[in-house]
Each structure stands twice: as structure tokens, then as C-alpha cells.
């Protein structure tokens, strides 16, 4: 059976599950639906992996669906196979997590049908080989995720998130629609083969690239179109948040790659400048917000914005190298970007599942009210620690491996001749390094405040460990993070055909290198061996423990905390999340968040409590979205009058419209 047919049957099965979930009795529906989704996604993951490793080329599948007389095209090339793998791996593990997590849902039927349809929509986007199927899948993905964002619609915050999300999603879909329309101009063919021919005109190709950067970029979270993401992702149930952040953003990355590297043909150098500049800014903006955010899930969403920036830096570099005909360097940057796509989907899912576990276990997602969870939720604490290490790019975990490859790609970019790139790339390199360091600070803060220290609220003090399904899902994700970090070689080899198809070059085959090292260019230039670094650290730690316990001392005594002799018994005396962020807020606050601190210190004898008030604003929202919202509101107010006309008024409006139309037609002819 062809892989296309298999994946399509999987998609149909998922839609079937969506319908079934409505019919099933409420009580048991949740677990059954998630088990079904898990099985289907696991099967599709297997098919995608086989296709990715299969070097043979396959013809597109034509089915008599969709537009009458045209039919629908489906095709899984190596790029689609890779993204199918990412989506279905994330989907399967989110479903596994959902088996346990879904039991806590008050109204499961507000989530279940949309969950299955969401998975189906994302798969459909990837396998579609024509604009029609692509856009249908895209809209299924957007609308079903929107429905899940507003699933707990009782909270006003979620309703607002849903509104902002649906506006941005519609806007993004519109730009993609226009992009497809521009490419399909002459023949009217909607198949990708016909669209490639439409991109021959460089002017049209440039406009399409701009539109796709807006359309796919808004879905992925590219600044300044990222504002919906930290609102919408946290509003959904946690496994859906994990899917939206870890997987749905990757569908947007796929859309961008499909256009920029495949449909649009040979890129112009300035495209890469646009992408590199935008993505560098995205990384910094996302991580700065993450360092001051106190809502655990929103913090994770901001860090998604940062990671999308990192991925797009890689893609931008790959575009630059491709435009200047340096295929081996393009392959390096492209592989780094795809590797980071995989890695981010793994550790971001893990972190969102952990945040969901914290939410279930303690009922809190504000880290200011947490603390000491490492004692109450020991297993979740281990998995979250692993996730935080991976996202902070610490060796030997996977986040570091892709970050390291990205740095290697930056280091070969002096070969690019354009002056704009020569000045831009060093700055973006600095931005990447800065965002990696700030990301580590953000996650030290998040983990240290939520999991370490003493409980800051009764909820945190009485939290409980979550169910085994959720733990199993997190354990698998952490194991995958470790595997991809310790042995990046096999992963890079699997990505090699994708890079060759998209940029025409390849990096050295990693499996032929001794000691399982990673060598992206050649041995003299750079190499990294995650396995050896991991072994060295583990061995030295164990060895020093053995020697010290054997020959020195292993006695331990418990006593009250020392704290310089003045321990503060109240948990309020601990550092809080906002006090931890204070140094960074003081350094970056004024420029980045327009932060204003007002201290009200009463005079001696005055019994008022002292207060410190911090006001921070989102500058992008204020500068870009607030004016648009104001204008839209004003127009809506004006149009509102039309709603209250008399019947005569409406009739004269209809009449005027008719006359206007006839007049236009007359002049046209």
C-alpha cells in the first residue's frame, strides 16, 4: 500500500474519531478517544519514518476529490515525511498524556472532537500537493485549535485570547490564499507542479514570499505577528497547548519551507536578509518576555516565540547560502533548522505536559504561588528539570546539539558576498547567543521558583503527583531529548535527503565518522561528541562520589537552614519570581517593556504599608496593534448606524447598490 493512501486513511480515521467522540457517552469518551488517536498517530508516525528513510522517489497520488474536474493531489516527499514524523510523534505522545489529563476535563466534549480534527488537519496540510488541500487542512487546523482555545470560555481572558487568535488566523489564511492565487495566475492549476511554473516571474515570487512570511510567520509566531501566541497557547488544555506550541508552529514552518525553498524556485539574496532580521528580533523579543513572565504556560509560549526565531535564523541562513550557490553551507544551516524543529517539538511538548501536571497537581499555573514541588511531585520534577536543561541548550541534551549546529552555520557565513548579510549575520549571531543565555536564566527562574524552595501557597503545599499516563508520556519525551542530544548523528543522517531535496547540498554522512561524533563540515573545523561528553560527566560525577564516600565521609545530618544565622520561617521571605527577574528587568526593562517602578515608602511613624508598583507594557502591542484596533473600532461604530435604519432606508440602500452595479457593468463593457 502506498504511504499516501495509508496517511490519508489515517486522516479519515481521525475525522471518524472526531464524529465518534460526539456520539460516545460522556463518561468514558475521553479515554477511548485519546487511545484511538494514540494508535492512529503512532501508526502514521511509523509510516512517516519508513518513508523518510526510503530513498526512492514516489509519484503524487491523484484522487477524484476536492474541486470538480481537477481532483486532489497528495504526495509525501522527504520534507513532508519529516514533518509528518514530527506531527505524529507529538500527536501520539500528547494523546498518551491526554488519556490521564483528559480525565480532569469538566466538559470533555468541548475538546475531544476538535482534538481529533486538529490532528487530522495538520496531517492534511503536510501531505497535500495542491493549494486546495493545503488550505482546507490549514483551516481545519486553525478552527479546531481555536475551538479548543475557547473550550473553557467562562474565563474572559480565554475569550479574548480566542478572539485575537481567530483574527490573526483568518488574516494569515487570507495572505496564504492570495499567495497561492498569485502563483496560480495563468493556467489556473492548483497543483504544486503548476504553482512552481507560476513562480518564474521574480517579481511575483518576491510578493509571494512576503505574503507567506506574513501568513506562515503569523502562525509560527514570527515577530511582530506573535502577539496572539502567548494568549492562545496557554488558554487551551495543556496537552493541546503542547501540540499548538510544539507541533502546530512546525506546520507553519513547513508552509514557509514549502514556499521559500520549493515552490518559489531560486531565492533572491534580499529574501534571506528579511527573514534573518525578523527572526533575530523574534528570538530576543520572545526570550525577554519569558524572563519576566510569571504564568508558567505563558512563559512557555513566549519561549516558543524565541525558538521559532532560532529555527527561522537557520532557514534564513539556508536561503542566503542557497541564493549565493553555496549548497554545502545551505545544507548545514537547513539541517540545523530542521533538527531544531524536531528538538523544539520534543522539549516544548515535555515542558507543556509538565506545566499541565503542575496545574493538575496543584491547581496553580502562576509560579509566584508555587514552590517546593520537587518534594510533592518528584517524578514530574525530574522530567521538568530535563526539559528545562534541554531548552536552555545545556550539553549533552538535544537543545544544545541543534544550537551548536546553528552556530557552526553562522561561522561559515563570511563566504557570503552581500554587504547587508555581512553586517546582519554577526548581529544575529550575537542575538542568538544572548537569547540562549537569557533562555537559561528564564528557565532557572521558572524551575527554581516553581519546583524548589518552600511552598508559597496551600495549593502548592498540598499538591499531588499526576497519573501514570502523563508521567509515561513525559518520560518518553525526556528519553527522546536525551537520545537526540547524545546521538545527533543518526538524526542528521535521516535529515540529509530533505536538505538535498530543498537546497541541493548535503553535510558529511555522520554514520561514517568514528566514535559517533558529529562533524558538520570537516574534522579540522569542528566536531562535537555528545556521547563522550555525557559519558565523561557521568563517569566523573560517579567516580568522585564513590571516592569521597569511600575514603572521606558519607555522613549527613539534617538541621534547620543556616541563612547566615537569621533564617526566615515564613515562606514569604523567599525570593519570588518577580524579585528573581528584578536584575534583568532593571537592565532591559526600560527599553524592552517600558517598565516603570513606583516606590511608595511611608515616612517614619506613618502606619501605611510600603508598596512597590511595577507597570510593564508590550511595546509591539501598543505600537502596532492598538492603532489598528482603534481604527477598526471607529469604523465599526460608524457602520453601526446602518443597523438602525428604517425599512425605507434599507430599500433605498439596496436600490443605490443596484444602480451602482448596473452603472459599473455599463462602463466596463
Amino acid at each position: 500500500m502506498k504511504a499516501e493512501v495509508a496517511i490519508l486513511s489515517g486522516i479519515v480515521a481521525l475525522f471518524g474519531v472526531a464524529i465518534l467522540s460526539v456520539l460516545l457517552p460522556s463518561k468514558r469518551a475521553s479515554a477511548q478517544v485519546y487511545v484511538l488517536c494514540l494508535v492512529i498517530c503512532a501508526a502514521m508516525f511509523g509510516i512517516a519514518t519508513v518513508r523518510l528513510l526510503d530513498p526512492a522517489a514516489y509519484e503524487p497520488l491523484v484522487l477524484p476529490l476536492g474541486l470538480p474536474g481537477v481532483g486532489a493531489l497528495f504526495h509525501i516527499d522527504s520534507l513532508s515525511a519529516f514533518f509528518l514524523l514530527v506531527i505524529n510523534l507529538g500527536g501520539a505522545l500528547a494523546s498518551l498524556y491526554g488519556i490521564g489529563y483528559g480525565a480532569h476535563e469538566h466538559e470533555p466534549k468541548r475538546v475531544l472532537p476538535f482534538y481529533a480534527a486538529f490532528l487530522a488537519g495538520m496531517n492534511l496540510v503536510i501531505i497535500a500537493e495542491d493549494a486546495y488541500g493545503f488550505l482546507i487542512g490549514w483551516e481545519f487546523m486553525s478552527l479546531s485549535s481555536w475551538a479548543m482555545v475557547i473550550s473553557s470560555h467562562h474565563e474572559a481572558e480565554n475569550r479574548r485570547a480566542g478572539f485575537v487568535y481567530i483574527s490573526m488566523a483568518s488574516f494569515g489564511a487570507l495572505t496564504l490564499l492570495i499567495a497561492f492565487g498569485l502563483l496560480a495566475n495563468a493556467g489556473g492549476g492548483v497543483g504544486f507542479a503548476a504553482l512552481r511554473a507560476g513562480a518564474a516571474d521574480t517579481q511575483i515570487a518576491s510578493i509571494v514570499l512576503g505574503l507567506v512570511t506574513i501568513g506562515a510567520g503569523s502562525k509560527a509566531g514570527l515577530a511582530p505577528l506573535h502577539v496572539w501566541l502567548p494568549l492562545a497557547h496557554p488558554a487551551a488544555p495543556s496537552h493541546v497547548s503542547g501540540l499548538m506550541s510544539g507541533v502546530m508552529t512546525k506546520v507553519a514552518v513547513y508552509a514557509f519551507i514549502r514556499f521559500a525553498f520549493d515552490l518559489l524556485g531560486a531565492p533572491a539574496p534580499w529574501w534571506s536578509m528579511l527573514i534573518i532580521a525578523l527572526s533575530g528580533a523574534t528570538a530576543i523579543i520572545g526570550v525577554l518576555q519569558a524572563t519576566i513572565e510569571s504564568d508558567l504556560k505563558r512563559l512557555l509560549a513566549y519561549s516558543t516565540v524565541e525558538n521559532i526565531g532560532v529555527v527561522f535564523v537557520g532557514l534564513g541562513l539556508a536561503l542566503a547560502f542557497k541564493a549565493n550557490n553555496v549548497p554545502w553551507a545551505a545544507a548545514l544551516a537547513f539541517s540545523a533548522a530542521l533538527f531544531h524543529v524536531l528538538n523544539h517539538s520534543l522539549f516544548k511538548s515535555l515542558l507543556f505536559f509538565g506545566a499541565g501536571a503542575v496545574l493538575v497537581g496543584s491547581g496553580e499555573r502562576n509560579i509566584e504561588k508555587l514552590g517546593g514541588l520537587i518534594h510533592r511531585m518528584p517524578q514530574t520534577a525530574i522530567f521538568m528539570l530535563g526539559g528545562c536543561m534541554a531548552i536552555s541548550a545545556l550539553p549533552p541534551l538535544n537543545g544544545f546539539a541543534s544550537e551548536w549546529l546553528m552556530f557552526q552555520a553562522i561561522l561559515v557565513s563570511p563566504v557570503l558576498p552581500q554587504w547587508g548579510l555581512k553586517l546582519l549575520i554577526p548581529a544575529v549571531g550575537a542575538a542568538l547567543a544572548l537569547s540562549a543565555a537569557l533562555c537559561a536564566a528564564a528557565f532557572i527562574r521558572a524551575y527554581g521558583i516553581a519546583f524548589l524552595g518552600r511552598p508559597r501557597s496551600p495549593q502548592a503545599a498540598n499538591s499531588n503527583e499526576v497519573d501514570r499516563w502523563s508521567l509515561a508520556s513525559m518520560a518518553i519525551l525526556l528519553a527522546l531529548c536525551l537520545f537526540a542530544g547524545v546521538l545527533p548523528g543518526p538524526v542528521l543522517d535521516a535529515l540529509s535527503p530533505v536538505a538535498r531535496a530543498m537546497v541541493g547540498g548535503k553535510i558529511p554522512i555522520q554514520s561514517s565518522i568514528d566514535w559517533l561524533s558529529v562533524v558538520p563540515i570537516d574534522e579540522g573545523r569542528s566536531s562535537y561528541n555528545g556521547l563522550l561528553v555525557f559519558t565523561f560527566i557521568a563517569l566523573s560525577a560517579l567516580l568522585s562520589k564513590q571516592i569521597i564516600h569511600r575514603f572521606a565521609s558519607h555522613a549527613t545530618r539534617r538541621s534547620p537552614a543556616w541563612d547566615c544565622g537569621f533564617p526566615n520561617a515564613a515562606p514569604d521571605g523567599q525570593y519570588t519570581a518577580s524579585s528573581f527577574a528584578q536584575p534583568l528587568r532593571r537592565v532591559f526593562g526600560r527599553q524592552a517593556f517600558a517598565a516603570q517602578e513606583t516606590v511608595d515608602m511611608p515616612a517614619p511613624g506613618d502606619m501605611r504599608p510600603a508598596s512597590l508598583r511595577i507597570v510593564m507594557r508590550d511595546r509591539i502591542w501598543d505600537a502596532l496593534y492598538e492603532p489598528v484596533a482603534t481604527v477598526v473600532n471607529r469604523i465599526a461604530d460608524q457602520l453601526n448606524r446602518v443597523h438602525y435604519l428604517t425599512i425605507r432606508g434599507y430599500l433605498s440602500l439596496v436600490f443605490a447598490a443596484l444602480v451602482g452595479l448596473l452603472f459599473t457593468v455599463a462602463i466596463w463593457a
Binding site: A436, A437, I444, N529, P560, A561, L584
Partner: protein
């Protein structure tokens, strides 16, 4: 050269850094005391301190978690591995290719990650203040270090320290970017090791302290491991400056035993000079306010960026 010989040289380097790190600390303390016209403690005092700490029982706070107990071993292991991967007396050691300058920076980042978490584990205000400030310093020092790695790699065409050392040895051309990188690295080294003017390794119970605040709750063997790790870190930065900017005397890969001994002698000489320069600088300057430190480290970041820009713009600079 056989596998055994290569392995044993690599192992010798691991032991060498471990043995020399406390001595370097003792040397700087002694020299500093002499410059302040004090008698100062013996050169081997750090060894005595470490042994004493190792033999004492470890006192843990009531609510200390497993992370608090595991962190010292991880901090020590990550720093030790990083220090052992920097070429000290010879280049091209057996495992030198398993980690380049970026990996070494990231290994130190891992150590810091656990140190900052350990500072927050007990839930005291001192631990929090230390971790929070360390996180702020790191957000500047780490990118500055990456910028330095970029500059060096753009000059030498490799991120491998052995290759960088060999390149600097083989070239006679003076480069502006090399000077910028050296200056930036010195700033980063001072900040990362908590030396004056950034932090004072001798203070205790002062609101400006950073490193000491994080490890306030540690005692016994755990404290010994962390003290050892910070000694290794100082040694690592001096070795790094030595091997990248003053690589003279480094024995090449597969050299004879005599050349290796010469390499060790040259290395010890470099450490003495580096330690003395550090002490002279420390005694001649006052500590700066905590919120001046980002500006200080910002200079390093900008110099590193300037170095890279120069390399992107012209291959000769």
C-alpha cells in the same frame, strides 16, 4: 603512538588540572596578601581546607531536596571535564575533538545552571539573591564568551582549541580582532570567576555577594566539591587565555616525553604569570556596584561583536 599512551596522556591532563587548581588558588591568595603587606597563608592551604571539608559530615537543611545533594557532583564533573578538554601542556590530545570552545562554554553553563538551582533549593533569601544575580551576569558573560569563540574561530578557521592554538603559533601577523578577543576574554574571566571588581571571593555576609550567597547552605564534602569546581574554573580560564593567545611551549600532538615535560613547565610558567597579573589587577581596583556589572560585561560583548564584524568585513583584520 599507541592507544594506551594517548589515553594515559589525556588522563594525565585530567589529573594535572585537578592537582594544580588549588595550588593556583593558594598562589593568588598568598601573593595578594603579600601585596597588601600581610603575611598570608601557606601555598598549600587550599589543599588542607579541601581535605578538612571532605572529611567533615555534610549538614543539610531540613527541606533540602535530592537536587541539592546531587548538584555539587554535577557542578564539579561538568567543570572538571571542561577544564580537562582545554589544551594545557599539549595540543591534539586524544579526546580534544569531542568538544570545542562552544561546548566548553556550554559545559560551564551547565555547571552554573545547577549552581543557581541549588541556591534556590532551600528557599532562603540569600540563595535567591545569589542565583538571581548570577543569572543576570551569565546572560551577558555567556554570549560574550560565544562571541569570543566566534572571533577566534573566524580567525583560525576552526572552533577546536587545538587547531586555534596551532594556527596562532604558525602565524606572525598581528590582528586587531585577536586583541579585541583577548580583552573581552579577560573581562569575561574576571566576571565568571567572581573576582574584583565584579564579586569579591573573600567576602561573606555582604549584600553584594553573588557566588558565596548561592553556596551559603553548603557544608562538608558538598562545599569541598563546589570550592574545587570554582578553583578549576579559574584554572580553566587562565589555561584558555594561555592556549589561545600565548600558545608558545605547547607540545604538538604525538610529541616526545621531553617535549611534554617542557610543555608542562611552560604551562606552569603561564599560570604563574596569569595569576600574578590577576592579583595585581585585583589589588589595584575597587569593587563596582552590582548594576554596573552589566555595563562592564557589555563591553566584552561589544568587543566580541566588533571582532566578528571585523572578520566578516575583512579577512586581514
Amino acid at each position: 603512538m599507541g592507544l594506551i599512551a594517548a589515553l594515559s596522556i589525556q588522563f594525565a591532563q585530567m589529573l594535572l588540572v585537578l592537582a594544580l587548581a588549588p595550588l593556583l588558588l593558594g598562589f593568588t591568595r598568598r601573593l595578594k596578601a603579600r601585596l597588601l603587606r600581610r603575611q598570608g597563608s601557606s601555598l598549600i592551604q587550599p589543599y588542607r581546607d579541601l581535605l578538612k571539608l571532605l572529611r567533615k559530615e555534610a549538614v543539610l537543611a531540613d527541606n533540602a531536596s535530592w537536587l541539592f545533594r546531587v548538584a555539587p557532583y554535577l557542578i564539579f564533573a561538568a567543570t572538571w571535564v571542561a577544564a580537562a578538554l582545554v589544551p594545557t601542556f599539549a595540543t591534539g590530545l586524544m579526546f580534544s575533538w569531542s568538544a570545542d570552545l562552544i561546548v566548553i562554554t556550554a559545559l560551564l553553563g551547565s555547571a552554573r545552571f545547577f549552581l543557581a538551582l541549588a541556591g534556590m533549593d532551600i528557599g532562603t533569601s540569600f540563595g535567591g539573591i545569589g542565583s538571581s544575580r548570577e543569572a543576570m551576569f551569565a546572560s551577558f558573560a555567556e554570549p560574550a564568551m560565544i562571541m569570543i569563540a566566534f572571533t577566534m574561530s573566524l580567525i583560525a578557521g576552526s572552533t577546536q582549541l587545538s587547531e586555534i592554538a596551532e594556527f596562532v603559533l604558525s602565524t606572525t601577523q598581528l590582528r586587531v580582532s585577536l586583541g579585541l578577543a583577548l580583552f573581552a576574554l579577560i573581562i569575561v574571566a574576571i566576571a565568571e570567576n567572581g573576582r574584583i571588581p565584579v564579586d569579591n571571593p573573600a567576602t561573606h555576609l555582604e549584600l553584594t555577594m553573588v557566588h558565596e550567597a548561592m553556596i551559603l547552605e553548603y557544608s562538608g564534602r558538598h562545599l569541598a566539591l563546589i570550592e574545587m569546581a570554582s578553583a578549576l574554573k579559574l584554572l580553566l580560564y587562565l589555561s584558555l587565555i594561555g592556549c589561545m593567545f600565548f600558545p608558545w611551549g605547547l607540545a604538538p600532538a604525538g610529541a616526545s616525553a621531553a617535549a611534554m615535560t617542557g610543555g608542562v613547565a611552560a604551562y606552569v610558567f603561564k599560570l604563574v604569570i596569569g595569576g600574578a597579573a590577576l592579583v595585581v589587577f585585583e589589588t589595584s581596583i575597587a569593587k563596582m556596584r552590582v548594576f554596573r556589572v552589566p555595563e562592564f560585561l557589555g563591553v566584552a560583548l561589544m568587543l566580541g561583536l566588533l571582532g566578528i564584524l571585523l572578520r566578516f568585513v575583512s579577512a586581514g583584520l
